[in-house]
């Protein structure tokens, strides 16, 4: 059977899951494609950059989403990558890992939707192939988290062996996890005992060394949907509005024009996407077997789709609205175990 990607994409936009065998085939093909991609993919503007999506909610649907759509999200992104390999770039984020997705719900979601863990294995194997960074017009460096003390030049990223689970330490970990600290100049060690924050001088040196003028990253929630730091040398793009159905935050996607000009397209959650109905909430609560309303699949849905993905395309064909992973006490009189907490 020939794989019909357009039909797959269309059915995903209708919120229909792909068959397990189709996912397997798509993942295999995408791996072959990604294998030849460098750790640093060079592309040209115009570009639309999307940050964390966390349980992406595609606008075609019009009912309430509880962030239960990580499978659909990664399915559609994979299909789009395969269909338009030079126009869609997916950068690996910290959630694109076996360890994180097994705790935060993507694993559970795969089990629930397919009855086996095979689909989770297909996708997490695929994650090992995702690129680590994108460079736009040799001027803008895009990465999920931030900079690493082991990396001074772009060439040092190119030699990382990326085809593996994200390690706890080293340059690959830093690229997906580190955060900027506007109050500092240099790198600092997190009080957690692992991981770095990086300051203004680090950014300055990196850009100078590599003759670039801007760093684009995702990874951090912010109320405004984007944040510009270090004298306009670094931007954070966050693309999940009303994260978890209660943060009330804006989201943005960043459009970069041919002259390198940056425009943040800020949007809020679609009204129908603001809060799940009690029925939906209840369904989620019980189907997940977590009768608390506090953590039901909440950060779970966030398992996938936080890849700060550079979507390269001159027409803004991709419309994403909202949809973070959700969790809030769905209130319904029959939810005895929730209401009668002790």
């Amino acid at each position: 059977m020939v794989l019909d990607l357009d039909a797959c994409i269309e059915s995903l936009f209708r919120r229909q899951l792909l068959a397990e065998s189709v996912i397997k085939e798509i993942c295999e093909k995408t791996k072959e494609l990604l294998m030849s991609e460098s750790n640093v993919v060079h592309i040209k503007a115009p570009v639309t950059v999307v940050g964390d999506i966390h349980g992406l909610y595609l606008t075609r649907g019009d009912y309430v989403d509880r962030g239960l759509y990580s499978v659909e999200t990664i399915s559609i992104l994979t299909c789009l990558k395969l269909r338009y390999p030079d126009r869609v770039q997916l950068v690996r984020g910290n959630h694109e890992s076996r360890a994180v997705t097994s705790t935060y719900g993507f694993y559970t979601e795969c089990m629930k939707k397919y009855g086996t863990t095979d689909v989770w294995h297909y996708f997490t194997d695929l994650f090992d192939y995702l690129t680590l960074s994108v460079v736009i017009d040799n001027m803008i460096f895009c990465v999920h988290g931030g900079l690493s003390p082991s990396i001074h030049t772009i060439d040092q990223i190119k030699v990382i062996d990326r085809f593996k689970e994200i390690p706890h330490e080293g340059p690959m970990a830093d690229l997906v996890w580190s955060d900027p600290d506007p109050g500092r100049e240099e790198f600092a060690v997190s009080p957690r005992g692992a991981g770095y924050t990086f300051g203004s001088m680090v950014v300055e040196k990196f850009l100078h060394e590599n003759r670039m003028d801007h760093i684009l990253r995702a990874h951090q929630l912010c109320m405004e949907g984007f944040q510009v730091l270090f004298d306009d040398q670094l931007s954070t793009v966050w693309s999940a509005p009303n994260y978890c159905y209660r943060c009330g935050n804006l989201a943005s996607i960043l459009e970069i024009g041919v002259e390198g000009e940056r425009h943040f397209n800020v949007f809020e959650a679609a009204p129908e996407n603001e809060r799940p109905s009690p029925a939906e909430a209840q369904r989620t609560l019980f189907s997940n077997g977590v009768p608390t309303g506090l953590f039901n699949n909440g950060n779970g849905g966030a398992g996938v789709g936080n890849g700060g993905g550079g979507v390269n395309g001159s027409n803004g064909a991709m419309t994403f609205a909202g949809g973070a992973s959700g969790s809030n006490g769905g209130v319904d009189p029959v939810q005895y175990t929730i209401l009668y907490f002790l």
Partner: protein
């Protein structure tokens, strides 16, 4: 018993007898508010900070009012010089060793120590108005007691629930190393009101910790009871309690109720406040 539900955009609640219970929910703080809060508190703010959310209970005749808010709770997070030494992520040792091999020991700068797990024994902010209080010798404050306790049996009865609400005050995923959440739950029944303020911490492969504060008032009585408990256990011990039938499914570890039912009691402290 007559009661009136309050539903005013971002604020929901109930007025019953002499009491008003309000739960206010709005968006996370914006960058400016975060900068201010961070400067005031001296620590980085949790990822999801609902600094303007609150749960409050107020007793009109006595002037008693208790609020639950994120920022006063965060002000109680340990910032002593050893505060970040107590708990490290599971792979901290490995991280430091590999780091020395990569010759990065020159980075000695450590983000100012603070308890990055955001553990807080906050038990509410007492904002009572003592002007209404006729008995000036006894301000409206909680005092330790061994004589009173929360009537659990009454709370187990399936009485009608007039008002229920859950309000998350802050939440942080600890850079994928777990979860720290401070949240309130309240239920108001014809005979009593009950609040649970819970700090829930999971540090993957390290530990679970729950600090609970429970507030109980039986309508018609003159007392408000507050009970605080602190419990923790190792991650592995807790994980070993997951029924085998669940296989590799770890989702129970995300459920603070389930984790709570598995943690051993550590300490519990009861206080009482006299409304007049």
């Amino acid at each position: 018993m007559a009661h009136r539900l309050i539903n005013d955009n971002q604020t929901r609640g109930v007025a019953i007898q002499d009491w008003t219970v309000l739960s206010h929910k709005t968006s996370i703080l914006n960058s400016q508010e975060i900068d201010t809060a961070s400067a005031d508190l001296g620590i980085p703010i949790p990822e999801m900070i609902f600094g303007n959310n609150f749960l409050s209970i107020e007793h009109k005749t006595s002037g008693f009012k208790l609020e639950f808010k994120a920022l006063p709770a965060l002000a109680m997070v340990d910032q002593s010089s050893t505060s970040s030494d107590l708990i490290k992520v599971s792979y901290a040792r490995e991280w430091f060793e590999k780091r020395s091999m990569a010759n990065q020991e020159h980075i000695t700068d450590v983000v100012k120590p603070y308890d990055w797990t955001y553990s807080t024994k906050y038990k509410g902010t007492n904002v009572s108005n003592n002007n209404n209080n006729n008995n000036k010798d006894h301000p409206l404050d909680f005092v330790s007691t061994t004589e009173e306790s929360i009537d659990i049996e009454q709370l187990k009865r399936p009485d009608p629930i007039l008002f229920y609400d859950e309000n998350i005050l802050f939440e942080d995923e600890l850079a994928d190393n777990g979860t720290a959440v401070l949240s309130t739950k309240v239920r108001v029944m014809p005979s009593c009101l009950f609040i649970l303020l819970r700090f829930f911490l999971r540090v993957d492969d390290v530990l679970f910790r729950i600090y609970d504060t429970r507030i109980y008032h039986r309508f018609g009585t003159k007392t408000v009871i507050r009970e605080c408990s602190a419990r923790e256990s190792s991650y592995l011990d807790t994980r070993a309690r997951i029924p085998r039938s669940r296989g590799d499914d770890l989702s129970l570890l995300l459920d603070s109720n389930w984790v709570s039912s598995q943690l051993p009691d550590q300490e519990s402290h009861v206080e009482v406040l006299h409304l007049e």
